[in-house]
């Protein structure tokens, strides 16, 4: 707790967080998913949530992305009009609109985030159509542009993702999420299950997009190398609790908590 007090950031009043999580707790019966989590995310910032399987990082991600109602605590989001709203007090229609316009969610398994039986173009165009775009030519043009940005060639636009490799599917999922210009993107192990070379390409792509678009990203990963490359700040979780939080490179190079020291010392060196 002394760390939290010392690490006070003093910024101007107009510099406001995009997402504020306070006292977030989710229990499954008597089992704890995550407990008393506080965190803030600012525009343009990448926050990594790391921990081993069962540490509660996915529960936390689901709670703060409006996909799983917390047992207690609040998740507040700054809407485009500047107002701070509690996600779980929004109307369902507002919440779902937020999910498909101002937010993105990149699943570990692309099949969970894509429509596997419609074309790549329609996968990217769906969000545009959902917010009322009714011009086929324009939708297709935007979809083509986005496929290019995620390095999928334009002649694959009418192919279904079933015909794509794992890396391509993941890039398609990213394009599908970013097409509406979201301000906050959640990512659940986005490079998990990919070959190392494919992973590197995806990381490079993500870094570029995050920087170009000024996205805020909350990324869950068990891979500390991914966290180091992508994130500015990091949260370490264990048994549903936040063990340590702070600047990513400091947490990795000068870990304070016993658990973080163990985690960092367990990384395989190449």
């Amino acid at each position: 707790m002394t760390i939290a007090l010392r690490n006070a950031d003093v910024f101007a009043a107009e510099d406001l967080p995009l997402l504020c999580v306070r006292g977030l707790t989710r229990t499954y019966g008597t089992r704890i998913g995550c407990a008393e989590v506080d965190l803030d995310v600012w525009p343009g910032e990448v926050l990594a949530i790391v921990g081993e399987s069962g540490s509660g990082k996915s529960t936390l991600l689901n709670c703060i992305s409006a996909r799983l109602e917390p047992t207690s605590g609040t998740v507040c989001y700054r809407m485009r009009d500047g107002e701070m709203r509690d996600l779980y007090r929004l109307q369902e229609a507002e919440r779902r609109l937020l999910l498909r316009t101002d937010w993105g969610f990149v699943h570990q398994n692309p099949a969970d985030g894509l429509r596997m039986t419609v074309s790549a173009g329609a996968n990217v165009g769906e969000r545009l159509m959902a917010v009322g775009d009714r011009h086929y030519g324009r939708i297709r043009e935007t979809a083509t542009d986005w496929l290019g940005r995620v390095e999928i060639s334009a002649d694959r636009i009418d192919d279904q993702p079933r015909a794509f490799s794992g890396g391509m599917r993941q890039r398609l999922q990213i394009a599908r999420n970013l097409v509406t210009g979201p301000r906050l993107v959640f990512m659940d192990e986005p490079t998990g299950g990919l070959d190392v070379s494919v992973q590197a390409r995806l990381l490079d792509l993500l870094r570029g997009l995050v920087n170009d678009l000024g996205l805020a990203v909350i990324i869950v990963t068990h891979d500390l190398a991914v966290a180091r490359l992508l994130s500015h700040r990091m949260i370490v979780m264990k048994d549903g609790n936040v063990i340590e939080h702070g600047l990513t490179d400091r947490l990795l190079d000068d870990p304070q908590a016993p658990y973080t020291q163990l985690l960092v010392s367990s990384i395989l060196q190449v």
Binding site: N7, L229, H232, D254, A257, S265
Partner: protein, 236 residues
């Protein structure tokens, strides 16, 4: 005399090794010095004396156990030792640059883009950033045929030069150098010495660690012996 760019007072660092029964490893204690614009300060002392730890604390990469690190930032003094992550990121963006010992980047990016990246991240025009990157890579004699290639397969010296170009591309008023010349040949060492001299002329406050005595003598205006901050001596 003008306000120092950076002032260190009472700075201490102790590692607690929880994996070894929580033993305490004091590295430095009561460190104090100041960095001035247009001056290159060099940290001296034998290996293990804590030079690198001091440098890393100044960049926020290591936490501090005691003391203050006052940085002149946007016309006021900010205590980096007590600053939160976002303040540190802002200091790194605008005020404190760092040239590390090793190049650590995303595997797939070409050398030119790696060098240009710090400028692009600060919102510079891509074409202009690439032009500046090219200038610096020429300067450190990296053959142009390597510019588009990812440095993972380069030799140690080549990687080091990419790293230096990347570190020198920005206009930070404070620049920290963590043995950037370790694996360079004589010709390239001279280039780096000249580049440091240019930074000095531009009013940058530099703090460096150099193993090479020749370079150290060539660039150092002030030398601080870190053994003076040894916690053991203090205890004795």
């Amino acid at each position: 005399m003008q306000t120092p760019a950076l002032t260190v007072t009472g700075l201490g660092k102790t590692f607690t090794m929880h994996l070894r029964g929580g033993i305490q490893l004091p590295v430095v204690a009561n460190t104090r010095f100041a960095l001035h614009a247009g001056t290159c300060t060099v940290l001296g002392g034998p290996s293990g004396a804590g030079k690198s730890s001091v440098l890393k604390m100044l960049y926020g990469n290591y936490g501090t156990s005691a003391g203050r690190i006052l940085v002149s930032h946007r016309g006021r003094e900010v205590d980096l030792a007590a600053a939160g992550p976002r303040t540190i990121l802002e200091l790194r963006r605008e005020t404190i640059g760092y040239v590390s010992q090793f190049l650590r980047v995303v595997p797939r990016i070409g050398a030119l883009d790696i060098v240009a990246e710090p400028l692009v991240e600060r919102g510079a025009d891509r074409v202009e950033a690439a032009r500046r990157a090219g200038e610096l890579l020429s300067r450190v004699n990296l053959p142009e045929r390597l510019w588009e290639l990812p440095p993972a397969t380069f030799s140690g010296g080549e990687q080091q030069r990419v790293n230096i170009a990347r570190g020198f591309i920005t206009d930070h008023p404070i620049l920290l150098l963590d043995e950037p010349t370790a694996s360079l040949d004589a010709a390239n060492r001279d280039v780096v010495v000249e580049m440091i001299a240019e930074k000095k002329r531009a009013g940058v406050a530099l703090l460096g660690i150099f193993h090479d005595t020749e370079i150290r003598n060539a660039v150092a205006d002030v030398t601080i012996d870190v053994t003076g901050f040894s916690p053991a001596r203090k205890a004795a």
